[in-house]
Symmetry: D2
Subunit: 145 residues, 4 copies
């Protein structure tokens, strides 16, 4: 988790890097960043901020969805052909407990990479101890033209 | 859709208003706003912005999730007892087509309001014509203490 | 709804018929049958039976899932190339109220048919009046070899 | 997996036993049976049968849903107050690969047991080696009257 985004991202093929500046724009808006990128596994770190929260002082489900879906999408992308893009087909988010905490880590990983469809799953962990949400997401490859 | 948030919001009980400033913080971050609030139905409007998009120029799934989940949550809240809060238990988002467009409307509505659990559904429509995503979300009431 | 399976099924291309005997084996086990097949829309009818129910006298979620998923899958199949098969990629079932009743109709329809992926949705209605469950299902075409 | 249903079931409180005959009616119809019941964890075993399959010789998604949902529901029930019943609020099933095999094991377990809502997850494994499906399911307690 100490590895910075530039280091971690280097595992992705250089041709896939073009996808990241855009993917990371929404992350940047939220103050989130890639904290680990391995083959089929991506972590995204986020610090609590009031404007990402809801009435009860915990992270908004929309914020959780954004980092969890992005972690899963980039995990899928990391196993696709160079030059590919990735789109979410669908995802389901379970919000187990109020997402209270200071630091959140969204972890996404590939469960099965098929020809067209990649199944991913992940979770969002608060302060390195509490799983606050789980996600299952179906990703589709957009092949280079 | 011409009704501003303040007008629309007036349908919610005054005691529920306290929940909105926080709910709308994430909306404000994204430049989204409540465009209609009726009993059991809430619409949220969003303009396209580069930092809400992904590599292919369409809205990021995380952005879509945030406005769709919020619309469903506020729709559920609008039918709950005054003073209640609302939390998302889970939601599933289907991303039918790339979310290309200038203006997006997330519509949430209550399918069934139970004692503990409220079932909601909704969709995100681009430029008043294309349904780009659908959502089903389970909401839970947080009773006033 | 009075039309029998043989009549309704005739809308499906003859080459797709091979898929139906198997699809309908599970239906037969449950005493369910195709009651309507149109392009992109399929209904399946089921009568209540004790061995399809759970402790509270309503249909078991597994029974509801079986007829709802089949209705969605056949709705998707009805719009695919002749000779294709269909497989479920994922589905989510919402169980709104206990599925009490005598006759149940599972309705599936295509929301968007893509090249690889077909999005479907549907519901299960008890005694022609109460929606007891909703489903969203992602289907994939298996092309003829 | 060698423990028979009667032995395994003994972990459930005697007062919860009343729920099982009904829950197991659908299992019996499919030739499935409880193979392990522990606190918060339930396994259900099923042998392949033609009438539970679909066109391509693998288990029908409806069959998979039935055993996976039941395993999750009974896992939730095993941690609820004596005399309670359990109902599925919603579940999502991911079908990773065609469910080919001779023997299938649906494993359900509790992720978080709340006051009203219990989050569960599980998977269906073919021939003790291939995960063919995953499930996340939200369960609700029906309190004794």
């Amino acid at each position: 988790m100490t590895s910075g985004p530039l280091h971690g991202v280097s595992v992705l093929a250089a041709e896939q890097m073009h996808a990241l500046p855009h993917a990371t724009q929404l992350l940047a808006l939220m103050g989130a960043e890639l904290s680990r990128v391995a083959s089929g596994e991506v972590d995204i770190a986020l610090r609590f901020r009031d404007d990402l929260a809801q009435q009860n002082g915990s992270l908004h489900a929309g914020t959780i969805a954004a980092i969890a879906d992005t972690a899963c999408g980039l995990a899928a992308l990391s196993m696709m052909d160079a030059g590919s893009g990735v789109v979410s087909v669908e995802f389901k988010l379970n919000l187990l407990v109020p997402a209270a905490g200071e630091r959140f880590l969204a972890r996404g990983r590939v469960v099965r990479a098929g020809k067209n469809i990649t199944f991913t799953e992940g979770e969002v962990v608060a302060d390195e101890k509490t799983v606050v949400a789980t996600i299952t997401a179906t990703m589709m490859q957009r092949r280079p033209r």
